[in-house]
Amino acid sequence: DAGVTQSPTHLIKTRGQQVTLRCSPKSGHDTVSWYQQALGQGPQFIFQYYEEEERQRGNFPDRFSGHQFPNYSSELNVNALLLGDSALYLCASSLDRVDGYTFGSGTRLTVV
C-alpha cells in the first residue's frame, strides 16, 4: 500500500519565480494538507483541501495557493518566490473525520 507520494524531492528556484509541488495521497484518503517546515523548526500548516476545495488555511500569504483534483491528488503553488520560502514542504493525507495524518517525505525547495 503506497503511502503519500510527493514530487519532486528537491527543487532549486530563483527569487521571483513560481513553483508547483505535487502530492498523491495514501490510498483511501480524501483529504490533503500542506505544511511548510523551515530548517530546525516544526511544520507550519499552510492549508487543507477536501472535496476539491480549500477547507482551512493557516497564516500564509495569497502567494501560496493550491488545488485538489477529483482523484484526491493535490498541488501547491507558490508565486513570486522569496528567499524565505526555502523550506521542506510536506504533504499529509487523511480520511475526513478520522483522526490521523500520514505524511510524505516532502519536497526540499531552495530559493536562490
Partner: protein, 113 residues
C-alpha cells in the same frame, strides 16, 4: 498566543535507558494530542496519540502521559535504541477530526552507545 512547545531542543540518553520528552501547551480547550517522530530526510511519522479524557496511553515501548491541570504532556520511550534517534514533535489537533495540526518546535533525541 496559543502554542504548543517542547521544553528542551536536545536530549542525549544512554542506549538502553528510558527517554522522557516533555511538552507544554497553552490552549486549555485542546482535546487531542499527537507525538510524531521525524528522521533525517523523512516526513513526520505518527507514534502515539491521546485524547483529553485520558491521562495515559501506552504503545509498543512508548507511553504518553497527559496532565491537563498543568497543561503538560510527555513521551516516554522505554529501553532507548539507536533507531530512536530523531526529532520528536508534540502536536495538537485543533478543530474537528483530521483538521489542522499545530506542531511544537521539536526535541532532537540522540543516543549514546
Amino acid at each position: 498566543g496559543e502554542s504548543v512547545g517542547l521544553h528542551l531542543p536536545t536530549l542525549s540518553v544512554q542506549e538502553g535507558d528510558n527517554s522522557i520528552i516533555n511538552c507544554a501547551y497553552s490552549n486549555s480547550a485542546s482535546d487531542y494530542f499527537i507525538w510524531y517522530k521525524q528522521e533525517s530526510g523523512k516526513g513526520p511519522q505518527f507514534i502515539i496519540d491521546i485524547r483529553s479524557n485520558m491521562d495515559k496511553r501506552q504503545g509498543q515501548r512508548v507511553t504518553v502521559l497527559l496532565n491537563k491541570t498543568v497543561k503538560h504532556l510527555s513521551l516516554q520511550i522505554a529501553a532507548t535504541q539507536p533507531g530512536d534517534s530523531a526529532v520528536y514533535f508534540c502536536a495538537e489537533n485543533r478543530g474537528s477530526s483530521a483538521s489542522k495540526i499545530i506542531f511544537g518546535s521539536g526535541t532532537r533525541l540522540s543516543i549514546r552507545p
